[in-house]
């Protein structure tokens, strides 16, 4: 319910829009280049442009934080003493393998090959036990 005061106020006529503005504003609007390539994007984003912009900004922040954060796993890998040990062990194995291969090529049987094959099991004592 409106009061008399409100009725008095809304009865005051506002100044008219200057007529000469029409041609200038419409000329400026018609001369404005349309953003055709971005039109589909704006129509897609239009219902909530601020929300989409906020979401995009949040993703950019997350991405930047991810990039700037120290790579803990990588740092641990680089600084770990295990890396040097495993490298040394691998080198030892490589040298050993090279030695083995080298001795095979020279015709010398490896140490394992020179050992006598196992003899058949002696059955004497068992027979004695049965007999």
């Amino acid at each position: 319910m409106k009061t008399e005061f409100e009725k008095q106020l809304e009865g005051q006529p506002l100044r008219e829009l200057p007529r000469e503005w029409r041609s200038k504003i419409l000329a400026a609007a018609s001369g404005a280049p349309r953003s055709m390539p971005a039109e589909w994007l704006s129509s897609w984003l239009w219902p909530h442009p601020r929300a989409w912009t906020g979401l995009a900004a949040a993703w950019i922040v997350i991405f930047l934080l991810h990039l700037t954060a120290p790579d803990e796993a990588g740092a641990a890998r680089n600084s770990s003493p295990m890396r040097f040990e495993s490298f040394a062990k691998m080198r030892e194995q490589t040298v050993l393998m090279a030695q083995l291969l080298g001795s095979l090529d020279d015709g010398d049987p490896p140490a394992a090959a020179t050992t006598a094959p196992p003899k058949p099991r002696s059955e004497g004592p068992r027979r004695q036990l049965i007999g």
């Binding site: 409100e6 006529p13 100044r15 504003i25 400026a28 349309r34 129509s43």
Partner: protein
């Protein structure tokens, strides 16, 4: 896609309301013209914005309000005040042949100018656009209750400020 005649139709149907709202909000004719031009250029550039609109005027008023807020932010408060003082303010209301009525309109324009911009926007949309608080809330992107309370605060201030003249006219 909105063609030039569409923009002309929009202008003819809604520009007077947009003009009055912006002039009450900005209190500067040059700024009002700049913002109106920016608004229609924006609409002409992105005709997709006009697709499936239920309320063209509400949409244009919201766009006008956002552009006015952008202008406020771009300019510092001090610069805005200096610009307003430097310019002879254009009357907000139509001239009246009746002297008392003219005094009332001048005082009303002054009193409106003293209101904070957010209350002034609500008072304008309620009194001169005759919108509901729900519609005002949509345009200004605020809750309807906030629109209602801003209107009541604004109206109380106007009543207080205009009481001597208003009683005299009554």
């Amino acid at each position: 896609m909105a063609s030039t005649p569409d923009i002309a139709r929009l202008y003819d149907e809604h520009a007077p309301a947009v003009f009055a709202f912006l002039e009450n909000l900005l209190r500067n004719e040059a700024d009002t013209r700049d913002v109106m031009q920016e608004l229609f250029i924006k609409v002409a550039r992105r005709p997709a914005m006009l697709k499936d609109l239920r309320d063209e005027r509400g949409f244009l008023l919201r766009l006008a309000h956002n552009l006015a807020i952008d202008l406020f932010r771009r300019r510092g408060a001090r610069e805005r005040q200096a610009a307003q003082l430097a310019l002879e303010p254009k009357p907000l209301f139509a001239a009246s042949a009746d002297a008392d009525e003219q005094v009332f309109r001048d005082k009303l324009a002054e009193a409106l100018g003293e209101l904070p911009a957010d209350q002034r926007a609500v008072v304008h949309l309620k009194l001169w656009e005759r919108l509901t608080f729900e519609a005002i809330a949509e345009i200004l992107e605020i809750p309807p209750n906030t629109a209602g309370s801003r209107y009541r605060y604004g109206l109380d201030k106007l009543r207080e400020r205009l009481r001597p003249i208003y009683d005299e006219i009554q």
